[in-house]
């Protein structure tokens, strides 16, 4: 177990294999070696750290669980983790084909929290997958990416293109008008 101390001075005992998904913490642990000293995380609040390190479904009975994909091949999905903790590119590809239960719950956090989590993941050097789910269609549309209007609405972004820029964008998109 590793002791983490957040910006609001709360302490968290966390499993080593979970925290080591963070390159920042992994490097810190390698630098200090085996030690009971707490690791300070001045850029991460306790509410965010709870989200980043929470397991996929409730407390685990025996450490880790997962899903068996196929009896024909030996491909076995890695044990479920919060997607924000995922690292490998292969796993990334595999996991983007569906929205896991964890993601569904994760997506329900408000945007303030969501972007705090993304910033924390960036600080901790953990590959983030979640935003892709938001910017892409995934299961909801099945037709490629979300349209720009939907992304604007989702993230409170205004269309601030000038008429000249709008014309340029139309030109960039001419190929799509052949459809």
């Amino acid at each position: 177990m590793v002791l983490l101390v957040t910006s609001d001075n709360e302490q968290f005992q966390t499993e080593k294999d979970i925290v080591e998904r963070s390159v920042l913490i992994k490097n810190m642990l390698e630098d200090v070696g085996e030690s009971d000293q707490p690791i300070p995380l001045p850029n991460v609040s306790s509410s965010v750290l709870k989200k980043v390190t929470q397991p996929s479904t409730g407390p685990t009975e025996i450490d880790v669980r997962g899903r068996y994909l196929s009896t024909a091949s030996t491909t076995v999905e890695s044990p479920s983790r919060p997607p924000i903790l995922e690292q490998s590119q292969d796993e990334t590809r595999k996991r983007t084909t569906d929205i896991s239960e964890w993601d569904q719950k994760f997506i329900t956090v408000d945007q303030e929290m969501l972007f705090e989590i993304i910033l924390a993941a960036n600080y901790l050097d953990i590959k983030s997958l979640l935003c892709r789910r938001w910017l892409q269609d995934g299961s909801q549309h099945d037709q490629g990416a979300r349209p720009p209007e939907e992304i604007r609405k989702l993230f409170n972004i205004v269309n601030d293109f000038t008429p000249e820029e709008e014309a340029q964008i139309k030109k960039e998109n001419e190929w799509a008008e052949d459809r």
Partner: protein, 548 residues
């Protein structure tokens, strides 16, 4: 509470302020301290008052004036709200990282019934362009970041449409290459039969940038390589290459292979014999021969003699279901010594057991692998039959007892006696993967007992004393207490030595739901305790959880 003087022009109509807010939006800059949540609330309140006032007015001129003011206020409010949106807290480099995920790996053929449109959308990176069309700052970021455009993926469907669509494809290709700036490129080209000539302008265009190719996946017919003639002498950055060699008749098109001197990762599909003389194999780190037919596997095996000890080799074999035993038995694999560190054999498709046995036996009989550390076998469908005596001879000839550290037999049908015989000659083994196959289970009480260290910690009385990881696909036909005894013995530290900082790893995978059973609760509690103590990493890979 804000009070509005309805006869006076409000400051949100001040063009300087509007421009300032717009500039902030377009630059991704932070707003000043003055513009916070409270200011936004005041604006929202004002907007509501405008609505109320408009509802009470009968004078048309006044109504028009106030509606115009309200529209301006609403636009101003939306700008300010956008300025405070949480998404703007993300730094540009993080946005770019997120945008990278928007790139699609393959054409989305559900997008349209017209496959040409799907291929063109894929080449254009439609998802990325949609993100670019959200706002000015995102547009500047997407279009102005070469790394987002460094993958050039040309699918044949993009060239399968009308002549106009083919022209569009080439124009889009130019745009993508232009946006990629001077970044190293990942180039992919996938063919459909019969479109060779149509590829010419696109392939020639991609070839002109070959000095920037970092990875290349060219799955075209070898006859299309004629359009890539300009890449010779111009492949200094290329480190990863995957290509389809095809059959005979296009050998002269493969001359460029002599210039891929810096390639470290090579995957070759098809008839490898035509490429081998030209391939610089000596510096490879990974080498894969895919889709080798029984008739050509000898070439793949023979080429292994030129590989270094740093190289990991994967050979994928396709055994046609019509293959007869005589055909497979006449492979003529030459005796080959290779210093490679890792070897994996993968059999695709259904096959006759006798054919796979012949191929595996001849492969084992032909090879000497004096530096091998990792050995694995894969089969997509039925498990591979095990040529035991040939493996034992290979093991002895190659001195596996000194250096073989990892053995993956998931997809091998080996008996318990054969496995124990193998393991008794592999004391250096650290990682073992095994599976139960019909009709007799492999992960049994007797095997687990043989793998259990004896109570006095003598390393002489158990198989593979240095085992650090046991990965089992099991139907759970063992006694949980025997399994626990195995785990306890492996997790216990040697007397007089400090505890091992690296926990023992045990994975259990249950292949089918119908053989579900719970693990004894006392055993589960002890496993949990060992995990908490850091001496065991236990992974239970089944759905739903078997642990009660």
């Amino acid at each position: 509470m804000s009070v509005i003087d309805w006869n006076r022009q409000d400051n949100f109509l001040d063009p300087t302020l509007r421009t300032h807010i717009r500039d902030l939006l377009r630059s991704h800059s932070r707003p000043s301290q003055d513009l916070g949540i409270s200011a936004l609330s005041t604006l929202a309140e004002k907007l509501g008052k405008y609505g109320d006032k408009i509802a009470q007015i009968n004078d048309l001129d006044e109504l028009s004036r106030l509606e115009s003011c309200r529209s301006a206020l609403e636009a101003f409010y939306l700008d300010c709200r956008s300025l405070l949106a949480p998404v703007r807290r993300l730094p540009i480099e993080l946005l770019i990282h997120i945008f990278q995920f928007c790139r699609s790996a393959e054409p989305n053929f559900r997008r349209s019934s017209d496959s040409a449109v799907c291929g063109i959308a894929h080449l254009a990176q439609e998802s990325l362009l949609r993100v670019a069309h959200v706002c000015h700052m995102w547009h500047e970021t997407v279009i102005g970041t070469p790394s987002l455009w460094s993958t050039v993926s040309l699918h044949a469907s993009a060239l399968s449409g009308t002549p106009q669509q083919c022209e569009t494809t080439v124009k889009l290709l130019e745009a993508v290459l232009r946006r990629s700036g001077s970044m190293p490129l990942n180039v992919e080209s996938y063919p459909f039969d019969g479109y060779g000539k149509r590829f010419q302008p696109a392939l020639e265009l991609i070839a002109r940038h070959s000095a920037r190719w970092k990875t290349a996946r060219i799955m075209n017919s070898p006859f299309d390589f004629q359009y890539l003639s300009s890449i010779q002498h111009n492949l200094a950055l290329l480190t990863t290459l995957e290509l389809y060699i095809g059959g005979s008749g296009a050998e002269h098109q493969l001359d460029f292979l002599a210039f891929v001197q810096n390639v470290q990762n090579l995957t070759v599909h098809g008839s490898i014999q035509f490429a081998i003389p030209r391939l610089p194999l000596e510096g490879l780190v990974t080498y894969r021969c895919v889709d080798s037919r029984p008739g050509t596997i000898r070439w793949a095996i023979a080429s292994m003699s030129r590989l270094s000890h740093l190289c990991a080799v994967g050979i994928g074999i396709e055994i046609p279901c019509w293959d007869d035993e005589n055909y497979s038995s006449a492979l003529g694999i030459p005796q080959t010594t290779s210093n490679i560190g890792s070897f994996s054999l993968h059999v695709h498709k259904f096959f006759r057991t006798a054919s796979s046995l012949q191929i595996l036996a001849q492969t084992f009989a032909a090879l000497s692998l004096p530096s091998l550390r990792l050995l694995s076998f894969r089969a997509d469908f039925n498990p591979l039959a095990w040529p035991h005596s040939e493996f034992m001879a290979l093991s002895s000839r190659s001195s596996f007892h000194n250096h073989l550290q990892s053995l993956d037999l998931f997809r091998v049908h080996i008996t318990e006696l054969q496995l124990i015989d193998c393991l008794s000659t592999l004391p250096a083994l650290e990682n073992l993967s095994i599976a139960d196959h019909f009709p007799k289970p492999l992960v049994t009480d007797s095997l687990l007992t043989a793998l259990t260290r004896s109570a006095d910690n003598s390393t002489l009385t158990c198989l593979i004393p240095g085992l650090r990881m046991l990965d089992c696909i099991s139907e759970l036909r063992f006694d949980d207490n025997v399994y626990l005894g195995f785990l306890l013995s492996r997790c216990a530290s040697e007397s007089d030595s400090p505890p091992d900082p690296v926990p023992f790893v045990s994975r259990l995978r249950c292949p089918r739901a119908h053989i579900w059973r719970t693990i004894n609760s006392n055993v589960a509690a002890q496993i949990k305790g060992m995990c908490a103590g850091g001496v065991l990493k236990f992974e239970w890979l089944k759905y739903p959880s078997l642990v009660s």
